[in-house]
């Protein structure tokens, strides 16, 4: 039995038509090649890329074989392999799908969405996507500046961040500087945040991003984010965030030097597991001191504010990265972690990231 995909149905229909037109000029279908005549063509294939991560890590934290591990753990691992497919659907839409294989076990569709191509001023997206909340939440793990994500994001938004099926509209304002408003409505399903018991309750996210050029080499960016949704206890959880980023890269030495300083502050209220306000901040510096070398530092502080009677959590991280090309990166990271309900510990990781296939641009 021949399985009929859409393309082969269309080709069969055209072939049938062409046979009806026997006696007229030969139809050029067969000239396109045997595979084309069988309805198999590579020409319109999506762009495919694959990003992989390999890590060796060591931690002085006590390893609990039953419970969740704190931090990166000890051992060799393949934290994630992510397959990205992107293609143009038609003159109106583009589609992007990201499938992640985490720790060689689970398969998760991280994102799967269509984006409009032909609207002025506005971009619409529909599907499952990582919410544009602050800076870190929307990044895929291979784009993270460090091997792991900030403490405050994991605590408030969950390990997977805020990512749900939904719709999004992003408007570029007609201002002389970059000002963009993103509004999203999501079908919340995260226990950490928005998992409503009512079927039609949606979660809403808004993000305003403003970026100014400070000259040929520098930019400064400020963002404000808000998220609101029903949680599984029937109350409204609210999260707010502020982010600021300064970037410097001299044009005539652009491949050799750059500096990035970034901070994000998140605070959540009426969370499902604790109604008390909880917030935290992450600040990081990335200094490129040679064509292929980066030195980075980060500090996380979770507990600003924090529920009474709980301790803050802090982490200080240093990292050195060797970037042979845009397609591979080797990072050595050290963190000193002062966890909330556990003794302090140190962790070290050597992490390799690599990319094959079509090369998507990094978000700025």
């Amino acid at each position: 039995m021949v399985r009929m995909g859409t393309r082969s149905i269309l080709t069969t229909a055209v072939l049938a038509w062409s046979e009806d037109a026997r006696g007229q000029a030969p139809v050029p279908i067969a000239e396109a090649g045997v595979s084309d005549a069988r309805g198999l063509s590579n020409t319109m294939n999506p762009a495919i890329s694959l990003v992989g991560q390999v890590m060796g890590s060591g931690s002085s934290a006590r390893q609990d074989p039953e419970g969740e591990q704190d931090g990166l753990g000890t051992g060799l691992s393949v934290p994630e392999v992510e397959l990205a497919l992107a293609g143009i659907v038609d003159p109106y839409f583009r589609a992007d799908v990201f499938v992640a294989f985490e720790d060689l076990e689970g398969v998760a569709v991280e994102e799967a969405y269509v984006t409009t191509l032909a609207l002025p001023v506005l971009t619409l997206r529909a599907g499952k996507f990582k919410a544009v909340f602050g800076k870190h939440n929307a990044w895929h793990s291979h784009l993270w500046p460090f091997v792991d994500g900030p403490l405050v994001h994991a605590a408030l938004l969950g390990e997977e961040g805020l990512a749900d099926p939904g719709v999004e509209a992003a408007v570029l304002f007609p201002t002389p500087w970059f000002l963009e408003l993103t509004l999203e409505a999501l079908d919340g399903s995260s226990e950490k945040l928005f998992a409503s018991i009512e079927p039609f309750d949606l979660a809403y996210v808004a993000h305003l991003r403003s970026l100014w050029e400070l000259g040929a080499a520098s930019t400064f960016e400020l963002g404000g984010s808000g998220a609101l949704g029903q949680n599984f206890r029937g109350e409204a959880t609210k999260v707010a965030g502020v982010d600021a980023t300064f970037r410097w890269r001299p044009p005539s030495r652009a491949v050799y030097r750059s500096l990035q300083v970034q901070g994000e502050y998140l605070v959540a209220r009426d969370r499902p597991d604790d109604p008390a306000d909880m917030g935290g901040v992450v600040g990081l510096v990335r200094w490129q001191f040679a064509r292929r070398w980066w030195a980075q530092a980060r500090h996380d502080f979770l507990g600003l504010p924090r529920p009474s009677g709980t301790d803050p959590a802090q982490r200080t991280t240093g990292l050195v990265a060797f970037v042979p090309t845009e397609f591979s990166v080797l990072r050595l990271q050290y963190s000193f972690v002062q966890a909330r309900q556990a003794p302090d510990f140190h962790e070290v990781a050597l992490h390799l990231g690599f990319l094959i296939g079509s090369h998507p641009a990094h978000p700025y």
Partner: protein, 299 residues
Amino acid sequence: MRASPILCALATLGIAPAADAALKVITTTTDLADLTRKVGGDRVDVEAICHGDQDPHFVEARPSYMVDLSRADLVVAVGLDLEIGWLPALLQGARNPDINPGRSGFLDASTAIVPIEVPRGQVDRSQGDVHPRGNPHYWLDPENAMRVATAIGDRLARLDPEGADDYRSRTRAYVRRLAAKLAGWRAALLPLAGAKVVSYHRTFNYFLARFDLHAVDYMEPRPGIPPSASHLAQVIGRMKREGVNLVLHENFYEPRASRMVAARADATLVILPTSVGGVRGTGSYIALIDHLVSALTGP
């Protein structure tokens, strides 16, 4: 974007310069911007994203560029994957359907020229950052500049039919001027015909081909890979064997490797701009080529 603080302040106040231009054109490089200004005249308001002294492979896709692109009538790009790391993201963020690839508001200037160094056979990244469709640095050949100027003029005429006669006559005049200058440049570089050179990256190959010079090796062992000591030793050896006494160096790369090789191989090091505005005195395409020619024939 060359962000002059005065222009930014004026823009913030809502005062736009060149408000009577019929078309707003954004080009990726300063070379394309100069060609567009020459054939467009007062009817176009042209700006370039990449600076003249910046490597056009590695421009960052700053959101601020999206703002200008959102208001553009025409985008002119070099193509051949030169801007592939940054332009697609900018075009998507600009939310301006007219300038999307395939529409008349997008011009890939490489469609006007015939690329050289198109790789044959299977290409992969073990060969470095290869451009699978050919060497993209084609604007440094004045004959390609003529072809690109003509293509830009045609596109301007299509987008702004009222100015079509103006664009056509300006294009004809500019091409004639370039042809006359080309004869002069050929004559000036005749003493160097047949000479072998080395350069840092493959940036000058179209220019060299036009004037019968030949790059026999590069400081980069492969495109996009920085020089290694062993590779540079090979380059020095080759220069001595083949009598290469000219080292060309693009001004946005660090010159240490080229300096060392020129010293060891007893050759002359010439640090060159690759685009309009790359150094002072190269404010136009013709000035840029004048500068390259005089730097090569100079003292």
